[in-house]
């Protein structure tokens, strides 16, 4: 089929041929063609097979609104053939076919329709046997379901995000949107005009009377620097406070608009009759788009079904394009053509009052039935009415109503900075649309406090002829599709009502009507009419199903944007790398897991443990949370935040901190070092410090104490020097802190200068060994580290990593918040009664702890050990269950091989009755083996604490 001569084809460049392939066959189109237009120009009208029955399908709207035009590209499924441009070498194939598009082996499904009634899957997939779903249906459906194929080896693509701001966002660049945007921009507003098409103009670009008007508007728009035009941009939803996602290609524009004006127009509605889905049957707008955008003649001989003026316009266009008009079928008594009726009559066109009742053809329409007559044709054009694009206004809270007299949906807007104009507002005649859009812009301008002017309203002389409500009767032989995406016929909806489903939201879920890619754009109105009739109610009472964002499909890439996992580095990051550390993420931080080559990980980690137990090691603890609590009420504040008492804590001493929430659940722990009467330096766990800081600010705002809290996590770095030889190291450092046994007792804290660096030193540790923790401002960290490393060399000090630290702490029986605790863990369950002040009148969680204590312990954390060689599978892993009388009562929270003890050691929750040392509990390994092991205390190593208090 050759192209129509210019000026038909305003989007194609006939001088630039483009070669592409479809279903393995080479095709040629022109630059500017979309896949569907280029194929149609070559006579290829069938683009896909339908979802359920595998019926041949082609283009209907040329607006990217239905599943029938979805095709497969090599790395991109579900591409809209009626919107996606062709490009040189593009390889396109059909979706949802078994074999090929022309010879689909699943086409027999069309004959099985009566065995696949609506909702059949709810019944069928339950049987015939208990496991039928898993063994039969699920594999079968997984094979058949879905449309396109995801390319798991798709090449990398860049997805971008940006924020946009404007006074007024106009959505839709047709006559109404363009006019409103110009009106507002001329008044000084900062305007964004977004449209999903590649060029502005909407129906003006393909309608019969739009070209001159469009040229003038485009010139006006181009002259306005404060009017930003964004074409090929989908406004994919409306969210609270006028926040709208604008998607253009691979970029998401997160847009905040002070005012939003929706001019998204209306969507043409198909007619319902038997075989209304055959290729060659299309909406009037589709025929006009094919001709005016792409110079494609949509057929040779046509029947036009027109229930509005636009149908007459299409008929005249088709005649001008050389298409033989077999007849115009007008269902409206008195005709729908208005002033155009006589113009059409002058062409000699036969006008029949009636409706198209049926179509026939195998893979393309060959005739339609009107009354008793079959009219031969290869094109049937339908222009019977519109529905407003209600999705975006409904996202914003608009209500959709239905006017029985005009047979149209209408929108009632919420009280918000939001307006509608043009076809969306039910205005159709061009002059009336212009006035309506100008007035809508004026309303927005007034709310923006910009200058306004009076707009004279113009009557819409086409409004009464826009829609016509036909009688929709189920054809005895079916295949009268209401929803082409989901292959839903009239009888399916009627049967759903007979099944007892009266409400549309339930009917939708039972039948899947409106669940396809078009999301009801082409089916909602007909569905409402069918259900209204079947339930003897009005269309207004039925309405449409809830519209939720997104408006159209959006890729995960667009939602994701750049992949930027957070990364924080301690001041010693480069030093750790220089030392060969295996750096691993710990929350946002990167920490050394161990030092040395990965192949030797196990040996190296054990060596690091032995170094600490037998000599001395150094661990970078800079990721520990650091908080300064300062002010006259700092002690009182900590008394309320933590479970122990701090008000009388001596200056220069450190004290353990246990934090509970209002439920009495343990949420963090750390150490408070009192530097001065009004200054505490408090550590928190790496993962929880942000939450602890937020909680402190929250409570401080409640209590209004004279306290200031500062998060100094990044500001301070810290190293823990630990092991029997730790004192040898720190006493060798130059400085004014006395690290001797007499001068620096266990849990002491001293501030001073070490190696020229201001230091906060604490005698605390996590290993059970003699330990000193040196904290300093982070910019000095490398200087201090170097000094410590230098004096540590003579005694063989080596840095150790996170895994050795985890082993050392478990050997000593220290808990890890978040690993050995969960969202319900109380201090009593941890055996931490010693950490609860009995004299304080209040701390957060105190009352809950007492109430929970009164209820008794349902579980308790204990130590377990397993006498099995390293790597033995008969040792439980973390999360393995602890059983009592075959019922789970707890689980393993931590389990590791202890190089020091040559045994597997674990912490586990056991039943409260079994928590005493010596009680035997049953643990189930991953391989199912059950072990009976005796309970022991938390502390596996140096239970008398002699080593850390050396």
């Amino acid at each position: 089929m050759s192209r129509l001569p210019a000026p038909w084809g305003n989007r194609i460049n006939r001088d630039v041929p483009v070669t592409f392939s479809f279903e393995g066959r080479t095709n040629q189109g022109f630059a500017g063609d979309v896949i569907a237009s280029a194929l149609a120009a070559k006579g290829q009208w069938m683009l896909s097979r339908s979802f359920k029955y595998h019926r041949p399908r082609g283009l209907m709207s040329m607006a990217g609104a239905e599943a029938d035009t979805l095709v497969q590209l090599p790395s991109d499924p579900n591409v809209q053939a009626d919107r996606h441009p062709i490009s040189q070498g593009l390889r396109v194939s059909a979706q949802n076919v078994n074999g090929s598009l022309a010879r689909d082996r699943d086409a027999y499904m069309d004959k099985l329709g009566r065995f696949l009634p609506v909702g059949f899957y709810y019944r069928s997939f339950m049987g015939p046997t208990r496991n039928s779903w898993l063994k039969m249906w699920e594999p079968l459906i997984r094979k058949k379901a879905g449309l396109g194929v995801v390319d798991l080896k798709a090449p990398h693509a860049d997805y971008e995000k940006a924020n946009l701001f404007c006074d007024l966002l106009v959505v839709g660049g047709g006559l109404a949107g363009l006019t409103a945007a110009i009106e507002a921009a001329e008044a000084g507003a900062d305007v964004i005009l977004a449209d999903m098409e590649p060029v502005l103009g909407g129906a003006l670009t393909y309608g019969r009377d739009g070209v001159d008007r469009l040229d003038a508007l485009l010139k006006q728009a181009a002259a306005l620097p404060n009017l930003r035009v964004m074409t090929e941009t989908v406004v994919n939803g409306w969210f609270e406070d006028n926040w709208l996602p604008l998607i253009r290609g691979n970029k998401l524009y997160k847009t905040r608009a002070r005012e939003v004006l929706l001019a998204t127009g209306s969507v043409e509605q198909p007619a319902v009759f038997r075989n209304n889905d055959l290729p060659g049957i299309m909406l009037g707008g589709a025929a006009q788009r094919l001709m005016r955008h792409y110079a494609v003649k949509p057929g040779h001989r046509t029947v036009v079904m027109a229930a509005n003026i636009d149908g007459y316009r299409v008929a005249l266009d088709l005649l001008e394009a050389g298409v033989e008009l077999a007849a115009l079928v007008d269902p409206r008594p008195g005709g729908s053509g208005g002033a155009l009726a006589s113009e059409l009559a002058a062409t000699g066109t036969k006008v029949i009052q009636g409706v198209v009742e049926e179509a026939r053809g195998k893979t393309h329409v060959t005739a339609v039935k009107v009354g008793d007559d079959w009219l031969d044709c290869d094109l049937a054009v339908i222009s019977v009415g519109y529905a407003p694009m209600w999705q975006l206004p409904c996202h914003a809270g608009a209500k959709l109503g239905y006017d029985e007299d005009s047979a149209r949906f209408s929108l009632t807007l919420p009280d918000a900075a939001l307006g509608i104009a043009g076809g969306l507002a039910g205005v159709f005649a061009a002059d009336a649309v212009v006035a309506d859009a100008q007035q809508a812009a004026q309303v927005a301008l007034q709310r923006l406090n910009l200058s306004t002017r009076e707009i004279t309203p113009v009557a819409d002389d086409e409004a009464s002829l826009t829609n016509f409500e036909p009688v929709i009767a189920s054809h005895p032989m079916g295949k009268d599709f209401v929803d082409r995406d989901e292959d839903i016929q009239v009888k399916d909806l009627q049967n759903a009502v007979k099944e007892g489903y009266r409400e549309l939201e339930l009917i939708k879920r039972f039948t899947t009507v409106g669940m396809g890619p078009s999301q009801g754009r082409h089916s909602a109105l007909a569905t409402a009419r069918v259900v209204a009739k079947a339930t003897d109610r009005s269309v207004d009472q039925i309405g449409v199903t809830t519209a939720r964002p997104p408006f159209g499909p959006e890729t995960l890439g667009v939602l994701s944007g750049h992949h930027h996992p957070a990364e924080r580095r301690t001041a010693l990051h480069r030093e750790h790398i220089r030392l060969g550390a295996d750096m691993r993420p710990v929350g946002a931080w990167r920490r050394p897991y161990f030092y040395g080559p990965k192949v030797d990980a196990k040996r190296l980690i054990e060596e690091e443990v032995h170094a600490v137990r037998n000599g001395v090691g150094i661990l970078d603890v800079s990721t520990l949370g650091g908080l300064e609590v300062r002010g006259p009420d700092a002690g009182e504040f900590l008394n309320r935040i933590y479970t122990l008492a701090y008000k009388k804590q001596p200056v220069g001493r450190c004290r353990y901190c246990l934090m509970t929430n209002e439920m009495g659940t343990v949420i963090d722990d750390g150490v408070a070092y009192r530097l001065a009467e009004d200054l505490y330096y408090v550590t928190a766990t790496t993962g929880a410090v942000a939450r602890v800081y937020a909680d402190m600010l929250f409570w401080n705002a409640q209590w209004r104490l004279d306290v200031d809290v500062l998060n100094v996590t990044s500001a301070f770095s810290g190293f823990n020097i630990t092991g029997p030889k730790a004192r040898d190291v720190v006493t060798a450092l130059d400085g004014d802190i006395d690290f001797s046994r007499e001068g620096f007792a266990y849990l002491d804290g001293h501030s001073g200068t070490v190696a020229g660096v201001p230091v906060r030193a604490m005698r605390i540790g996590f290993t059970g060994e003699l330990s000193y923790e040196l904290h300093c401002p982070s910019t000095y960290a490398k200087t201090l580290w170097d000094a410590v490393i230098k004096v540590g060399e003579p005694v063989g000090m080596r840095p150790y990593g996170l895994e050795a630290s985890r082993i050392l702490r478990l050997e000593k029986g220290h808990i890890l918040i978040g690993q050995d605790t969960d969202a319900l863990t109380s201090p009593d369950e941890l055996g931490f009664e010693w950490a609860i002040s009995k004299t304080k009148p209040f701390f957060v969680g105190k009352r809950s702890i007492e109430m929970r204590r009164n209820k008794g312990l349902s579980r308790k954390l204990v130590g377990l050990s397993f006498d099995a060689p390293q790597g033995d599978p008969n040792v439980p892993g973390e999360s393995c269950l602890v059983l009592k009388d075959d019922v789970p009562v707890g689980h393993i929270t931590s389990v590791l091989w202890s190089p020091t003890l040559s045994a597997h050691i674990a912490l586990a929750y056991v039943h409260g009755d079994d928590a005493d040392e010596g009680s035997v509990v049953t643990v189930k390994c991953r391989n199912g083996v059950r072990l009976n092991v005796p309970v022991r205390g938390h502390t596996f190593f140096d239970a008398e604490n002699k080593r850390q208090e050396l």
Binding site: N163, V229, H562, E567, R569, H573, L710, S714, P777
Partner: protein
């Protein structure tokens, strides 16, 4: 010796800072005297320092809260004066340690800021002298217009995220080499 992240041996040593359509420069060595808590503003005023309104900046003084202030490149004796002063005088905020300080400029500056910051920082919406406490480049940040040698923004953010921030800016600005933004 003090070492900031982008210095030799610093945590972000070797991390490239973008130049071209957008230029990112490091000013983390800038002296920052920060106070927070009761008495902060009064102390600074007693030192003859003019303190602007909340979320405003003037003459190198950033007012981040009713009692939270940072003085950039302030008098060297300021800390000694503060330590010698009687409370209430605010509390030391360690701003030279908690934050990195960087500067963004370039022809595509505003396009970049639109990508990495959710606040409208355009010339018409964000006046010189205002401070935005927001997120920039996926990290919490404080930013304000500071036209050093052309229009630009100064930024303060978590010093531990220096390399991450530089990488985020580089990734975001890479788009300018690939396509045209509106």
């Amino acid at each position: 010796m003090r070492i900031y992240p982008l210095d030799p041996q610093g945590a972000a040593e070797g991390t490239p800072l973008v130049t071209g359509d957008v230029t990112l420069r490091d000013f983390s060595h800038t002296s920052r005297f920060g106070l927070k808590g009761r008495g902060s503003v009064a102390f600074l005023q007693s030192q003859g320092i003019s303190v602007p309104g909340v979320n405003e900046t003037a003459t190198g003084v950033l007012r981040l809260g009713s009692e939270e202030v940072v003085v950039l490149d302030g008098p060297t004796e300021l800390r000694a004066s503060w330590e010698a002063a009687q409370a209430p005088k605010g509390y030391y905020a360690w701003r030279e340690e908690t934050w990195a300080m960087m500067h963004l400029s370039g022809e595509r500056l505003f396009d970049l800021m639109a990508k990495i910051c959710p606040v409208d920082l355009s010339v018409s919406a964000f006046a010189v002298g205002r401070i935005a406490q927001t997120r920039v480049g996926y990290v919490e940040a404080i930013t304000w217009r500071n036209d050093r040698d052309g229009i630009g923004f100064d930024l303060l953010f978590d010093i531990a995220a220096t390399a991450f921030f530089a990488d985020a800016v580089a990734t975001a600005s890479a788009e300018f080499n690939r396509e045209v933004t509106p």
